[in-house]
């Protein structure tokens, strides 16, 4: 890429400055704190500078998100469906009531929680595990390993999800062929029984998601001073103890934001569930909330209901992240 040269230089420079400066202090401000003491012109110029930096981003994000969001809030209070696609009107909170009265809602909600939890746990677990292995000094050919392990992230999701669906086929799928030929186990009806189909979707998504966490963890590991491990070696600490006492606490501040994002993305990841289970098969048993939204809106034209459901999803995630971020800061303050 065009940036290649300055980048290398920048990287080295950064390493140097970090050594010189010691602990880099995030979010301290030469300008902001000093601003009130300067003249009014200076303050205005500062404000203008800030505006120039932030304005375009705020404008673009608001343009794409804000109006649709408000529109959606209105829809969720309306009766828009197949019969009222043109002449819909506001009917209050009936759609929200209908969402909570939907018999399948709580089951799907539970499935979504399982889906999110299992996925994120495995993403982070496998990701950190591989990162720790890759960070071992003796491992040769690190760049090659790294690229191989990153591949699932690089491929478009809609392609890999369909490929995995093929691999879960009962008779021709690679998964069953492996099971029967090498493990001498019986074939599993992956896509036709509810539990197995859900597991198949989870397996696919675990495969798709661990590279991201691995990369984040690798970045975090590089900033852990090697001397800490060497000191632990001198104390005769085993690998597990070093992992628990050095790696985990120092990796946590890097992983928490990634995990927060991971949860939000996984919760709302419709592609994998939809494509692997072919739209919820069997018998709509492999839905998570977002695929339920999609089905309601685009197969049954229940736009009002779907909008209300998506507001519920939004609410759940909003509260979750607020709590998680609050917790994170609490932990950060602990050391």
């Amino acid at each position: 890429m065009l940036e290649a040269k300055p980048t290398t230089a920048g990287l080295e420079a950064r390493e140097r400055t970090k050594e010189q400066a010691g602990q880099g202090a995030p979010v301290a401000s030469p300008d902001g704190r000093a601003a009130p003491r300067r003249g009014r012109g200076e303050a205005w110029r500062h404000r203008l500078f800030l505006f120039a930096l932030l304005g375009p981003t705020v404008a673009v994000v608001l343009a794409v998100v804000a109006y649709p969001f408000v529109y959606n809030v209105v829809l969720s209070l309306s009766n828009m469906n197949l019969y009222h696609i043109r002449d819909w009107e506001l009917i209050g909170f009936a759609q929200y009531a209908a969402v909570f009265q939907e018999p399948a809602f709580w089951a799907v909600f539970l499935k979504t929680l399982i889906w999110t939890l299992v996925n994120v746990v495995f993403h982070v677990g496998i990701g950190v595990f591989l990162a720790v292995l890759l960070n071992e000094k003796f491992v040769r050919g690190k760049p090659a390993w790294r690229v191989l392990l990153i591949l699932p992230w690089a491929l478009p999701q809609y392609i890999t999800a369909l490929t995995w669906r093929g691999m879960f086929n009962f008779e021709y799928g690679a998964v069953n062929l492996f099971l029967t030929k090498f493990l001498h186990a019986g074939p599993v009806a992956w896509l036709t029984s509810p539990t197995e189909a859900f597991i198949a979707a989870i397996l696919t998504n675990v495969w798709l998601g661990f590279p991201f966490m691995m990369v984040v963890a690798l970045g975090g590991l590089q900033s852990i001073p090697q001397e800490l491990y060497e000191a632990a070696d001198v104390d005769g600490a085993g690998a597990w103890r070093k992992f628990r006492t050095i790696t985990v606490p120092l990796l946590r501040p890097v992983m928490i934001p990634a995990i927060t994002l991971g949860v939000v993305w996984t919760f709302n990841n419709i592609n994998v569930v939809w494509l692997v289970s072919n739209g919820g098969e069997p018998n709509d048993q492999t839905h998570i909330l977002v695929s339920y939204v999609y089905e309601a809106a685009f197969q049954m034209y229940r736009f009002g209901w779907a909008a209300a459901l998506s507001m519920v999803i939004f609410g759940v995630l909003f509260i979750f992240t607020q709590v998680l971020l609050k917790k994170t800061n609490a932990t950060e303050a602990a050391y």
């Binding site: 202090a25 301290a28 043109r86 759609q95 036709t192 069997p282 034209y301």
Partner: protein, 458 residues
């Protein structure tokens, strides 16, 4: 470096905005269609020919998957946009008529032009008048019907009854390498999709809905039909343990299944794969004496309600060309479709083409697809229970009851008014308010404190 990048970006952006709208005073007509494979190749040729004929018109076809086509069309047409014409199966018509996204064809073509098509070539519907409603779709083919396709190298004569079918299939299912798994199956088809279940249902005397559009799935016929399909797999072992559309196609094309149940869209593909195939109507069910009748439906064109006066004559001309005798005859020859203009259909029937003759025979045994929009819910609602039955998770009786219940629920969800129930509304609003308040006073201070702390220099 950055300036360079930005410059580049601006240049590209500028070219995007200006470059695409080349000078062009021809009339642009767009058609969304869902034709695939050989159908699409043929369609593209026909369009190319039309474009070459007409200097003042450009027709732009765009392929979309059936479901996507309908969804995007509804959204676009409600927004006052969308393609001028769409091509699809008749079961789209109910939804499109309800959403008022189509123009009645008597306004586009006039009654005289409509009269040249056979009755099964025009789809009429309205909520009030049912099949007596205004015409919405004009078909270039009728059919879409499932038939029995067999590999003549393995099976010289098609069975005429289900008893004969079972005998033949048992003979044709062989395990050549003795690993306990069949290496050649007697029959295969997409038995995960309810559309492919219909012939069995009708063969045992059932149907999907009554005249008012109420589902009629929890019947003895459904149970018997399910049991028959299950027997083919579990008792006689003559169909694969799991088979969706792709598996079925692969097995038949590789010669590892002696026969397949599939529709006109797929037949020519078998010839291309080197299979010596022939088609026949599905067998008569021995127990009932009824033919296993497939669902028959026209496929054709509808006009967007947003087409304006100026464009209308062009749309009319294109529509008459696409559904005209010349194109229909050619289509019958290449794609083995059944024409909707009586004179053309007669000529084709007398042409001596064995595939077409068998297809017309199967068509006559078939049953017309209902146009009611509830059909959509019937497909979506039966699919799940049907798959559960096939997986052995529920009995055929439970399966039939589940189908009925699921379809009824979906119909209620989709079509019934969601009235604002004031009392419940207030309750929910109250709960939400409480949640919001507790959030504001409970969590926000914490959040603020965090913000405050984050701003402190470390």
């Amino acid at each position: 470096m950055r300036r360079l990048l930005l410059g580049l970006a601006c240049a590209i952006l500028a070219s995007l905005v200006t470059g695409c709208g080349a000078e062009d005073d021809r009339v642009h007509l767009t058609i969304w269609h869902q034709k695939t494979g050989a159908e699409r190749v043929f369609f593209d040729e026909v369009i190319a020919r039309y474009n070459a004929q007409r200097e003042d018109v450009v027709v732009e076809p765009l392929y979309r998957e059936t479901e996507e086509l309908r969804n995007l069309f509804v959204i676009a047409a409600v927004g006052g946009q969308g393609p001028d014409l769409i091509f699809g199966p008749a079961d789209n018509v109910g939804v499109l008529a309800l959403t008022e996204t189509l123009m009645p064809l008597d306004e586009v073509l006039g009654d005289e032009a409509l009269a040249q098509f056979s009755d099964d070539g025009i789809v009429r519907w309205s909520e009030a008048a049912g099949a007596e409603g205004p015409p919405w779709l004009v078909a270039d083919q009728v059919g879409n019907h499932l038939v029995y396709v067999y590999n003549r190298e393995l099976l010289p004569e098609p069975p005429e009854t289900t008893d004969a079918l079972v005998d033949a299939l048992q003979r044709l299912t062989v395990d050549t390498n003795g690993d306990g798994r069949a290496d050649q199956y007697g029959l295969t088809w997409n038995y995960r999709e309810p559309f492919f279940f219909i012939p069995f249902l009708t063969g045992f005397g059932g149907w999907v809905m009554d005249d008012e559009g109420n589902p009629t799935l929890d019947t003895e016929a459904t149970v018997e039909a399910i049991r028959f399909v299950l027997d083919l797999r579990d008792r006689y072992g003559v169909i694969p343990a799991e088979s969706d559309y792709d598996v079925a196609e692969t097995l038949f094309k590789e010669g590892r299944a002696a026969s397949i149940i599939n529709g006109p869209w797929a037949w020519s593909g078998y010839g291309d794969s080197g299979i010596d195939y022939a088609i026949a109507p599905l067998p008569v069910v021995t127990e009932t004496g009824l033919p296993a009748a497939p669902m028959v439906a026209p496929k054709g064109y509808s006009v967007n309600v947003n087409v304006d006066e100026e464009k209308l004559p062009y749309v009319r001309d294109l529509l008459l060309y696409l559904t005209g005798p010349e194109v229909q005859r050619e289509m019958a020859e290449t794609l083995k479709t059944i024409p909707t203009i009586p004179s053309v259909r007669e000529a084709v029937a007398a042409s001596g083409d064995p595939v077409l003759e068998a297809s017309i025979e199967a068509l006559e045994a078939g049953r017309m697809m209902p146009v009611e929009p509830q059909l959509r819910q019937i497909w979506d609602g039966t699919r799940g229970p049907y798959q559960l039955v096939m997986n052995g998770a529920v009995t055929p009786e439970e399966g039939a009851a589940l189908m009925q219940a699921e379809v009824e629920k979906r119909i209620a969800d989709t079509f019934l008014e969601s009235e604002g129930d004031a009392g419940r509304s207030f309750l929910v609003a109250g709960l939400l308010l409480v949640a919001a308040l507790s959030f504001w006073f409970g969590l926000r201070p914490l959040w603020r404190r965090r913000q405050h702390r984050a701003l402190q220099p470390a």
